[in-house]
């Protein structure tokens, strides 16, 4: 049996095409990433960028939602949520950072090209970029952050990083020291949730990476996520066509985030599955207390391994639960509804916190092999913690939970 099948998930809900995609991705990433990473480590040019191309362009993840007539695959019903989960899990297993990038791309597609809310105009403008086969489109978001700028207008207490002004037929964007959610150095498209001057309602505006007035700072060093070469941005008078504003409402914004959190959750589950495989390989022939006692047969270390497997299983089930909610809006409501959004936020935080704990424990079992780069475990630990930080502060997320469950109004 495929060892990933050991961990329960609602296989009955997945289409054959989803399972086939997962199986082919599993083979692909094994050959192209897992088998090469000891040699190539986390090299961006040598390992990550070529594979981003393979995944997004050759496998076609970046064409998934777009209408067929525009070159996409028009897999754009809500059931695509399962496809996202099944695919990003596999990618995340090979490199959590690549899956994190793909989660951005897929979330943007879902927000523009979903069957029920198809944005014809925007699809017409942006689908070609994703479907022309010329290369991966790295999508990044610029979201309000926690306490960045005292004078910036706030969204639920978080500061907007970019301010937009409506001009005739265009938007003019400004922001200094803006920190995107990924790939500030590489992204082709930034989706920014901006404060709008003189108006209450924010706007989600797409900014091409080559827009005049957009400058990128140097790539900065961070804990993990080598696939996301991040850099701060400056936007000074960046002008984009009025149509680049994709939406203004909270509902659409939360819809985007719900899909994003699904992708991130699946990516994290992938990282956990990788940790499982590494630990398994290591634990199969590791001895403790002298010869003859295999690690996994020891009551304490065996129990800890069991606990890690439990954490992985629960995370996987939760991620697929989220997919199930997004896949069935008639039962659960719109992906951007308070309920589904809150569930998505809870699940992504829960999965990431569980992932942190499980990775810590895996490292504890593997001791020096846990932190030596040679065993490849520590990159998942760093990647998952980094993703957790980028998804946001758990403390603030809890306020969103309290808003929904207890009707808190001023948090």
């Amino acid at each position: 049996m495929n060892d990933l099948e050991l961990f329960p998930y609602p296989k009955n809900r997945l289409q054959k095409t989803d399972l086939d995609l997962a199986a082919s991705l599993q083979d692909l990433v094994q050959k192209e990433i897992v088998d090469k990473r000891l040699e190539l480590k986390e090299d961006y040019r040598g390992l990550l960028e070529p594979n981003l191309n393979k995944l997004l362009v050759e496998v076609g993840l970046q064409r998934m939602f777009w209408p067929e007539k525009l070159g996409g695959e028009e897999h754009n019903g809500p059931e695509a949520a399962y496809t996202v989960a099944a695919a990003l899990e596999q990618v995340g297993r090979a490199d959590t950072g690549l899956a994190y990038l793909a989660a951005h791309n897929l979330a943007l597609q879902a927000s523009l090209a979903m069957r029920e809310n198809l944005n014809q105009e925007a699809c017409g403008r942006f689908a070609p970029l994703f479907c022309d086969g010329r290369g991966p489109v790295i999508v990044s978001f610029v979201l309000p952050v926690f306490g960045e700028d005292e004078k910036a207008p706030a969204w639920r207490g978080k500061s907007f990083q970019v301010r937009a002004r409506a001009a005739s037929g265009s938007w003019v964007l400004n922001g200094k020291g803006v920190r995107p959610t990924c790939s500030g150095a590489d992204a082709h498209l930034f989706g920014a949730w901006c404060a709008v001057e003189g108006e209450e309602q924010p706007a989600f505006i797409l900014v091409p990476g080559d827009a005049p007035g957009l400058s990128r700072g140097p790539e900065f060093k961070k804990t993990g996520l080598a696939a996301s070469r991040n850099a701060d941005l400056d936007l000074s008078g960046v002008e984009v066509p009025a149509e680049n504003c994709l939406f203004r409402g909270d509902l659409e914004y939360r819809r985007l985030l719900s899909w994003f959190y699904l992708g991130v959750s699946a990516a994290a589950v992938g990282g956990l599955l990788a940790a499982y495989q590494i630990l398994k390989e290591w634990g199969d022939n590791r001895v403790i207390k002298g010869t003859g006692n295999v690690f996994k047969e020891n009551p304490l270390t065996g129990a800890l391994m069991g606990e890690i497997a439990q954490d992985i299983s629960m995370s996987r089930l939760l991620a697929y639960d989220l997919a199930g909610m997004l896949a069935d809006p008639t039962t659960f409501g719109d992906a951007g509804s308070d309920m589904v959004y809150t569930a998505a936020l809870m699940i992504v935080h829960h999965v990431l916190a569980t992932a942190e704990r499980a990775l810590h424990r895996t490292m504890e079992l593997m001791a020096s092999a846990g932190y030596a780069k040679e065993w490849q475990l520590e990159r998942y630990w760093r990647d998952l913690k980094t993703v957790q930080c980028y998804v946001g502060s758990h403390e603030l997320a809890k306020h969103d939970f309290a808003r929904w469950f207890y009707g808190a109004r001023t948090l």
Binding site: K221, K222, E378, C389, S393
Partner: protein, 422 residues
């Protein structure tokens, strides 16, 4: 703004010398380490940036001499009853900048403890090796070679395995030892070490503690080969590598304490290693406190500094509380190791178990608290320029060495619950 000195220490335990050296190290850290540390990760192989500050601290200030007796050019700390408390302060101060450096620094003294401390001072070996450390202003490093390929740090599980899994052999040939074997992971290897203490067996497979030998080997002896430094998740200043011993010959009297005593005093190495690990965790947390203060003051949420938000304050409080607790426990552990007249010998299974308990408690608490702080800082948590992530990566390693958490748990259970077969 409150500085790091507001955190509690047992004031009655402090020593003038430790405090004085602590101040010197704080200044050294500010001038020689903090300005460069963000580039240390990439310097793991070469130590181009890491070696110069070490030269100043160890060689020029002469801190590498502290353990040796005064008449041999040292500072006589090995004879004192305040070595550990003084070391705790020094470790904290260095780890505040870089716990990898603190580890490398601490390990310089680790093997020397076996020959420089009462009641097992080996005067002849002190005389032999003191000049190497005291007669130079270049930094001199030592290492303690324990871990082997087959059992990992299982070899440190002396109480259970009694050395039976050690595969590095020392065979007596006339008035020399002939050493053969392969060690992994010692701090200060990867070409750095000048002197090694090697844990060997004089009778492979034996469970008799008399057969465990700790033998000193100067690294320039024929047959000693150090491999290149490993690439790790952090701790670039702490170089680790493979060491191979191929028919390495040293005089018989290079054995640290002798049959039985080598195994016995090995417990001391474990106690002190655990005590030091707590100091590293404290130093790291003190620096994170500084960075976190800056962050929580500078960043604004709903018109007020972040720290004024109750939800944030909860995380801040947990972090300060963890520092308080871990620091107090660490100083008590150091005092326990110093005042053997009150607490018993520090090589005893009892003190080893206590020190292990204190250390793994401290590491668990530190990691949990730092993890929460990083998450609070969102995208700046994993940002190298905020320094927190570096400490987080480093301190994870502190938790994992010396046998890792599970071995510590077994030793603690064995002592406190008198388990016999664990």
């Amino acid at each position: 703004m409150r500085g790091i000195d507001v955190f509690s220490r047992p004031l009655e335990y402090l020593t003038p010398l430790g405090e004085q050296v602590g101040e010197i190290i704080r200044e050294w850290v500010e001038n020689e380490v903090i300005p460069y540390r963000r580039r240390f990760d990439e310097d793991y192989l070469e130590h181009r940036l890491i070696l110069p500050p070490f030269k100043k601290l160890l060689g020029e200030y002469g801190i590498q001499r502290i353990l040796f007796p005064e008449d041999l050019g040292g500072w006589g700390l090995g004879h004192s009853d305040y070595l550990c408390v003084a070391a705790f302060r020094m470790f904290e101060e260095i780890a505040r900048a870089d716990s990898g450096m603190a580890v490398a620094f601490g390990v310089v003294f680790w093997p020397l403890v076996l020959i420089c401390c009462e009641p097992h001072v080996n005067r002849r070996l002190c005389e032999e090796f003191a000049p190497m450390f005291t007669g130079t202003t270049e930094p001199v490093f030592s290492c303690l070679a324990m871990t082997e390929p087959q059992g990992g740090s299982d070899i440190e599980n002396v109480e259970v395995l009694k050395g039976s899994t050690i595969r590095t052999t020392a065979v007596q040939d006339g008035d020399e030892w002939v050493i053969n074997g392969h060690k992994l992971w010692p701090t200060n290897t990867g070409g750095v070490a000048d002197l090694m203490a090697v844990v060997c067996t004089t009778n492979p497979g034996s469970r008799n503690p008399d057969d465990i030998a700790i033998i000193f080997v100067p690294c320039d002896r024929p047959g000693v080969t150090q491999g290149p430094a490993y690439e790790k998740a952090g701790m670039a200043a702490d170089k680790n590598g493979d060491i191979w011993f191929e028919n390495v010959r040293v005089p018989l009297w290079y054995r640290a304490c002798g049959p039985g005593d080598d195994a016995k005093y090995y417990g001391e190495v474990v106690s002190l290693g655990n005590m030091g690990s707590i100091a590293f965790a404290v130093g790291v947390m003190l620096n994170i406190y500084e960075k976190l203060q800056e962050y929580a003051n500078r960043k604004v949420y709903r018109g007020l500094p972040l720290k004024e938000n109750d939800a944030v304050a909860g995380v801040l409080a947990d972090f300060a509380t963890t520092i308080e607790a871990v620091r107090i426990i660490g100083y008590q552990c150091a005092r326990m190791c110093d005042r053997q007249d009150l607490y018993g010998p520090r090589w005893s299974p009892e003190i080893v178990a206590r020190a292990r308990a204190h250390r793994y408690f401290a590491a668990d608490r530190a990691l949990e608290a730092i993890g929460k702080v990083m998450n609070l800082m969102e995208c700046f948590g994993p940002d190298r320029d905020w320094d927190v992530e570096k400490h987080w990566r480093d301190i994870k390693m502190v938790q994992l060495w010396l046998g890792g958490k599970q071995l510590s748990q077994m030793e603690v259970a064995r002592w406190f619950f008198e388990c016999e077969t664990l």
